[in-house]
Subunit: 266 residues, 2 copies
Amino acid sequence: MCHLHTFKDIINKTILNSENKNKALELNPNVSVDCVIFGFDFDQLHCLLIDSGLSKSTGRSRLAVPGDLIYDNETLDEAANRVLKELTGIDNIYLEQVGAFGDPNRMGKESDKEWLKSMRAEPDARVITVAYFSLVKMNDFNPEASSFAESAGWAPIKEIDELAFDHYEILQCALKQLKRKIKIQPIGFNLLPQKFTLSQLHKLYESILNKPLDKRNFRRKILNLQILTPLNEKQIGVPHKPSQLFEFNEENYQKLSSEGFDNFGF
Amino acid sequence: MCHLHTFKDIINKTILNSENKNKALELNPNVSVDCVIFGFDFDQLHCLLIDSGLSKSTGRSRLAVPGDLIYDNETLDEAANRVLKELTGIDNIYLEQVGAFGDPNRMGKESDKEWLKSMRAEPDARVITVAYFSLVKMNDFNPEASSFAESAGWAPIKEIDELAFDHYEILQCALKQLKRKIKIQPIGFNLLPQKFTLSQLHKLYESILNKPLDKRNFRRKILNLQILTPLNEKQIGVPHKPSQLFEFNEENYQKLSSEGFDNFGF
DNA sequence: CCAAAAGTGTTGAAGTTACACCCATGC
DNA sequence: GCATGGGTGTAACTTCAACACTTTTGG
């Protein structure tokens, strides 16, 4: 799995951040946001997780989805964007709300309580969290090179089987929503670099939908939508026939979606 | 439109309700649930609204979707069910979360503030609301005959153009989700009596999707799903050829959905 | 007998699936 | 020259949309 070893409290970091110092008193103790951040390495779908360090009670490491309590003067979307910006340094990340999770016992595990005590002013408060999923170009955030080198990392979705709090459930809901959405809107482009090949896009769809898709049919469907612009460029340095590169054509997509398109038909 | 005249504070009613007296101190000031309740009268889709009475500042009546702050020891789903039960007296209503709405200014209109002051212990608290939509058989709740005779009523969806707080936006989101969902799961049966005709179901789909559907194609598709049981009964007393009555067949539906059906294809 | 809604089949068009071989490159 | 992934077309099948007339009842 990914390399996540020691614990850094990104929430404290936030509060101490000078820009936010005047907001610190307005943290709402009852509402948080959690962001499931997806990334794609041309092979598998990944999720960005943070590490709480070893739990004293279980001796095991607790991984979680990044999140924070909200400030009373920001919207939920703003709070989610803030969490993303603080962790990855990236603005304008694709973001979509998944829903609210509010089981009173969602933070009830012993190892979770330890963690909460170390990072929350009111660790016993009832917290409802609003979950988001976001899509980032994986190269835009390399945890190894950031200040979160040891507390955040990309984990392949398939290898995640347990998370802190109710985050495993949240991840599954986010994944379900991504699967649904990818079929009716070309949001997958947010996971790829600006220039990409049809094979990369193909693989991305297979990874998200978790099933093989026929190569020729996939290409035909995507190209028929006319939302890809072929570039006068090919892959270089690959040990096989170099592939045509494409760009996502936002203009055509806007035209298409205003005409009422809503289905890729996979 | 529907008949909604005077104001009754269903929230106060809740707090004073003996069963809940011991919970009253645990009302969470920052999180509420709001329920968009849909009903169908065989002609149009309706929504159950409550009336705040006339606003002093605008002189206009403010209609809203029913809702309440949550208790710290209940889940969000439980809170939504509580609101539904208190208003309609019905248990086991079909319920689905729409999402969280948390703009800090969502309760900012003057006329809304008046109302809040009359019903909330902390009228100025930042409140995030979790919206739900629910489907009820319209005959199961007749506001005229209930204790909410004058403060709650069914309004045709098409005639609603303004609501208190951000409830109009919430209604539109709920409606969008209902449209999406009705195409892939037969939840429409929750809006009809146990015995119904294909024409009624047809009209229901047209009302929700807000477009005409071909009669023959509709019947074929629905019948092909084999989730309807034809009864040995017909309509009586109608001034035209009486229609065959059907029941929803839950057993077949379960079988079908476990086999992975997910599309009505409208 | 008239008005009103129920009920019923076919056809052409569109879309979907399944499938196999040659091509360009680096080594 | 060989291994690797890139790129291409067609035929069978399924699904969908469009469309008009006869039937049964109450009044």
